[in-house]
Amino acid sequence: MQSFRAHSGVVAVLRRDNVDTDQIIPKQFLKRIERSGYGDVLFFDWRYHRDGQPDPAFPLNAPQYRGASILIAGKNFGCGSSREHAVWALRDYGFRAILAPSFADIFANNCLKNGLLTVGFHQAELERLLARDAAGVHTLKVDLEKCRISGEDGFEAQFEVDEFTRTCLLKGLDEIGLTLNHEAAIAQYERRQIRRE
């Protein structure tokens, strides 16, 4: 897994609640057997008109969000289907961190496995960020070591992230490798199961 310590970049805002993974990446793009190459179809139905032209009304197509790598989203972001393709698409597009009031569980898990940081913020705190966006300030630094976001304009806010997520991301842990280190415990568990049967 790619580690995450700190990242600075352009912040895009998508002010919608309950954005489901069908919107993040529609079904027709789930038929590929690779993990990459999904960035161009991120938010496909919202981002493009039926004729394939970008819809200027969709936030990611706005000039001030060009090259965005941090996303501010609404509550319950990533709900619905477990498709990890949604996270692969966000990563391929260039996103490294998402800030939202809440995330769907499977989606947040998938983000963690792909080095995409999800940070929960209370709505009130997000409003400060949105006010900053409205004022034309579109860059931010997200520091996971210090659990802090900050801007060159002097903006600062602390955030909380659970220790498990933080440890995994800071160290870029290979979870499968770690679990395989527990071979003896797994084998012992399996022997106990056979005896019970």
């Binding site: 002010r15 919608r16 609640d17 309950n18 489901d20 069908d22 919107q23 529609p26 079904k27 027709q28 789930l30 038929k31 590929r32 057997i33 690779e34 993990r35 139905d45 039926r50 609404g74 509550k75 319950n76 709900c79 619905g80 289907s81 477990s82 498709r83 990890e84 996270v87 809440s102 769907a104 569980d105 499977i106 898990n109 998938n110 496995k113 792909n114 659970d162 220790e163 498990f164 933080r166 440890t167 995994c168 842990l173 979870e175 499968i176 770690l178 679990t179 395989l180 527990h182 415990a185 797994i186 568990y189 399996e190 199961q193 049967e197």
Partner: protein, 469 residues
């Protein structure tokens, strides 16, 4: 200390502590399908890792496959590549596959229970969010992403943080015409699509005890639509009667031992839940969704909401967006909404009982001229059983298309899709924008309500249906 059903199943599967307060959980059953697994197998291969327990892993083809014609010949190149990849992976790693020519092929969450693979007290995972279905048997069953699929392939374990627990207790009994689908839609409408986020739900109460296994699966299936990690129902005699004699269920002395153990899988009296929700099943009417999220649902006697009645700016915005997408006006009576398509199918509502329930409504009627209707059994076993009861004749004589088993128009990865602007009464689980086809408009309902809408051409209250049986 008094423990919940969830605590008991969780505790049984603890292998050891994982990093930073997590746990390593053993997985008893891993179900695999063609869409979310190819990258996991590729990852395993790239890392030079072996698969730990192919004997606890079963695969089927369901998501992207056609439901018509010779299914062994796939015309869609991408779908065929994915199907071939699963076949190849199953051969290479020695995993049993219920292929398209198998008499036991079907939707992964329909065939697991039907084959007796799903058993009480198990941990079950699949790269599919509707894995929560299997919780109806008192299993802890949840959907995972492809990275976690790879983790289970390699280790038969998952690193997990223990979710919180929630009790959803139904008092009273549902009235005639009110089904499990209506109960769960009413729960989601009440708590919202993130109401159970971070929780494992246990459904309990008189109304749950009175439900068949198939109905309990419908309830647990849609737990994910309330944001829950999983949904569970304590096993009882109904569970054991369903399981006994199924292909992979224990037999003889093994059955007796297993059943005795399964009877202990109940929440202890006084067990504490992190939260509790009460629902009076007697007050639930048939439900219909009007918007683009499963929580946007009202009783059939209700109307399309007014955005001005939203509790917050963000809720008002969501309603406005949803009404625009669904092309609906506030205060429109639900019963006045006309449909173009009817889809009866999916892991939520494509089991034999669902098909019987729709057939009873359809019998003696014809599908409205303005409606195109299809029914897609959840598995080949369901299809054969329905045909033995001659139910397929009731549907085809009424003007329904009777298809082969698969996920079909629940998510439209195969050719079964809505056209832009088409409105569909669907027994599936998600009414997200474009879910059944770009620009398509989905209303979630029970099989009986979908059947009644197919005949009437618009939504009707199935509680007033004139049955001709």
């Amino acid at each position: 200390m008094a423990r919940t059903l969830f605590d008991k199943v969780w505790d049984r599967h603890l292998v050891c502590a994982g990093p930073a307060g997590s746990s390593l959980l053993y997985i008893d059953l891993h179900l695999v399908h063609e869409v979310t697994s190819p990258q996991a197998f590729a990852g395993l291969r790239e890392a030079g890792r072996k698969m730990r327990r192919p004997d606890l892993t079963f695969a089927t083809l369901d998501h992207n496959i056609p439901t018509l014609g010779n299914r062994m010949v796939l015309e869609d190149d991408l779908a065929r590549t994915q199907v071939e990849a699963l076949r190849q992976n199953c051969r290479e790693f020695d995993i049993p596959l219920f292929d398209l020519d198998s008499a036991e092929q079907g939707i992964v969450h329909v065939i697991g229970p039907e084959l007796g693979l799903t058993q009480p007290g198990m941990t079950i995972v699949c790269g599919d969010s509707h894995t929560s279905t299997h919780g109806a048997f008192g299993a802890l069953a949840f959907g995972i992403g492809t990275s976690e699929v790879e983790h289970v392939l390699a280790t038969q374990c998952l690193v997990q943080k223990k979710p919180k627990s929630m009790l959803v207790r139904f008092s009273g009994m549902p009235g005639p015409g009110v089904t499990a689908k209506d109960l769960i839609l009413s729960v989601i409408a009440q708590m919202g699509t993130d109401g159970a986020a971070g929780h494992v739900i246990e459904y309990a109460g008189e109304a749950i005890r009175g439900l068949s296994m198939e109905a309990r699966m419908t309830i647990c299936n849609m737990s994910i639509e309330a944001g829950a990690r999983a949904g569970m129902i304590a096993p009882d005699q109904t569970t054991f009667d369903y399981l006994e004699g199924r292909r992979f269920a224990p037999r003889g002395e093994h059955w007796n031992t297993a059943e005795k153990d399964w009877r202990t899988l109940q929440s202890d009296p006084g067990a504490q839940f992190d939260s509790t929700v009460e629902v009076n099943a007697g007050h639930v009417a048939p439900f219909v969704t009007w918007g683009t999220s499963p929580g946007m649902a009202v009783p059939i006697t209700g109307e399309v909401p007014d955005p001005n009645h939203g509790a917050s700016d963000s809720e008002r915005n969501s309603i406005v967006r949803a009404l625009e997408y669904m092309n609906l006006r506030p205060h429109t009576l639900i019963q006045e909404i006309a449909v173009d398509r009817v889809f009866i199918g999916s892991c939520t509502n494509a089991r034999l009982e669902d098909i019987r329930s729709a057939a009873r409504v359809i019998k003696g009627y014809r599908v409205s001229n303005s409606v195109q209707a299809m029914i897609v059994p959840g598995s080949q076993q369901v299809k054969r059983a329905a045909e033995q009861e001659e139910l397929h004749r009731i549907f085809t004589e009424a003007g329904f298309e009777w298809r082969e088993s698969g996920c079909s128009m629940c998510l439209g990865m195969n050719p079964d899709r809505l056209q832009p602007g088409e409105r569909c009464a669907s027994t599936s689980n998600r009414n997200f924008e474009g879910r059944q086809g770009a620009g398509g408009r989905t209303h979630l309902v029970s099989p009986a309500m979908a059947a009644a809408a197919a005949v009437a051409g618009h939504f009707v209250d199935v509680r007033n249906w004139q049955y001709k049986d």
